[in-house]
């Protein structure tokens, strides 16, 4: 039984897993990007209130493996709080927190490092704050952060795979289940790779297109 035979034969299981993986990814991307951009802007604007705590939180978060966070949120935390949360939402919560903090840090750093001279130019040219944000800051910052943001989103997609370890029925777990039934690891995990490629390729393609469409080498020539 080849890779495509397995995909055809277990298509319903794979599609179910794909649906869960995409749901995880879309929620992580959507909420993480929106909340991250907002938090990053707040971290830049209110350095003591948001910026400092954000940096500290990001620092600790970067030192804790994702799996530990996931397990901790799925078992001890729920015991401590005396609640039972669906593993899917637990995974979403942890992925969203990671993505939000990652996006926020990318945005905050870009805003903090934004060259002041471009703002001064805008001021003396009579641009309002709003005009400066929309015509100068956002275009320049987007060019700077787009590659990093999109790379982070691809990494987040790949991290959805860990949700299988707390029993979320996403693609990897489906593949594991099928493998437990027919034991064809090479073909099954190759099929899994094809699914991930199919999701990642458009995202990577979008990243490349955006890079060529909106970014330009600004170094001296």
């Amino acid at each position: 039984m080849g890779v495509f035979d397995i995909i055809v034969r277990y298509r319903e299981a794979f599609l179910g897993g794909l649906r869960v993986t995409l749901s995880l990814a879309l929620l992580t991307w959507g909420v993480g990007l929106l909340a991250g951009i907002l938090l990053g802007a707040l971290g830049h604007r209110y350095r003591f209130l948001f910026g400092g705590p954000l940096r500290l939180f990001a620092f600790f978060l970067s030192g804790i493996p994702f799996l530990v966070l996931l397990y901790w949120a799925n078992f001890p935390l729920q015991v401590l709080l005396n609640v039972v949360i669906d593993p899917f939402y637990t995974a979403v919560l942890i992925l969203v927190v990671l993505n939000t903090v990652g996006v926020a840090e990318i945005c905050r750093i870009a805003l903090d490092d934004f060259p002041e001279q471009y703002l001064l130019s805008a001021q003396v040219c009579g641009l309002t704050s709003r005009q400066t944000i929309f015509h100068i800051q956002i275009p320049l910052i987007l060019r700077q952060i787009l590659p990093g943001l999109l790379n982070l989103q691809v990494i987040m997609l790949q991290m959805t795979l860990f949700a299988s370890l707390i029993s979320v029925e996403e693609l990897f777990r489906v593949a594991q289940r099928i493998n437990a039934t027919i034991y064809k690891p090479v073909e099954i995990y190759s099929a899994l790779a094809i699914f991930f490629l199919l999701i990642c390729l458009p995202v990577n393609g979008l990243a490349i297109w955006l890079k060529y469409r909106f970014t330009r080498n600004l170094s001296e020539k």
């Binding site: 001021q123 040219c125 009579g126 641009l127 001296e220």
Partner: protein, 272 residues
């Protein structure tokens, strides 16, 4: 109406505009500025009148750029008062935000190259005009005047420093300001371009635009002020205060030993 460099300049228009405003002058009074414990400016008084040129000379680190930034309210003074026509800004101020800012009525051309890198030179010039609802006219003539036709559609990083300097000047001029503060704008230009800029500044002066020009090119300063009443040169010393000021004769007959020393040591890049 006069026509110079292919541009039609209505002299009355600017003066009339100024008269409608009331008091017409850019004044800095007792401008004092410190960075930490370093006193950069000490109670500096300076005046720029419409249609007149004030040239600021002085050694590096004396605070010339700081004075420009303070007058332009980009880095407001710790103490003092800035008057831009009828608008008065007193410092220290309770409000950190400048209310009713004077830009682009008062604008600045910086020594460094502050063009926006994501826009072509043309867009760098046109964007502020569009956003300020200023009618775009004579862009081709300005482009021709500054010999920018060949590279106006390139990005700032694709042209030389001198070409960027010209674009920055063109951007400021097109905003139709009443006052322009120019911080060593010819430092990256060759003699021919400096000469073009000089002639264009004289034209702007005739148009009624008041200018504060910081320069290290003494001959450039001499030609710019042309012994006209109202034009003057101010020498800013290391202590951050105006040591001496006066007309163009100041350059030939300095009274203070400090200015004498400064002028004698300064290599003069003559514009001939």
């Amino acid at each position: 109406m006069v026509s110079q460099f292919g541009l039609n300049i209505d002299l009355q228009e600017t003066f009339q505009k100024n008269n409608e405003i009331g008091i017409i002058m850019l004044i800095g009074r007792n401008i004092t500025k410190s960075y930490g414990e370093v006193n950069v400016l000490k109670e500096v008084d300076i005046t720029i009148s419409p249609g007149k040129v004030t040239v600021l000379i002085g050694p590096s680190g004396a605070g010339k750029t700081t004075l420009i930034r303070a007058l332009a309210l980009l880095d407001p003074p710790d103490r003092g008062r800035v008057e831009v026509d009828s608008k008065i800004y007193n410092f220290p101020s309770d409000n950190h935000k400048i209310e009713n800012p004077p830009w682009p009525h008062l604008t600045v051309v910086f020594q460094q190259l502050f063009l926006w890198p994501h826009l072509t030179l043309r867009d760098n010039i046109v964007l502020p005009l569009k956003l300020n609802n200023i009618k775009i006219f004579d862009l081709d003539k300005i482009s021709s005047l500054f010999k920018m036709e060949e590279y106006i559609d390139r990005y700032p990083n694709e042209v030389s420093i001198g070409q960027r300097q010209r674009a920055a000047l063109a951007r400021a001029f097109m905003l139709n300001p009443t006052y322009i503060l120019l911080d060593e704008i010819t430092s990256a230009l060759d003699l021919e371009q400096s000469h073009i800029i000089l002639n264009y500044l004289i034209l702007l002066k005739e148009k009624g635009i008041g200018m504060l020009v910081v320069t290290h090119q003494i001959e450039f300063a001499r030609r710019l002020i042309q012994c006209e009443e109202g034009d003057y040169i101010a020498f800013l010393g290391e202590g951050g205060s105006i040591i001496e000021s006066g007309g163009v004769n100041l350059l030939d007959n300095p009274k203070t030993s400090r200015l004498k020393k400064f002028l004698s040591e300064k290599p003069i890049s003559d514009i001939t």
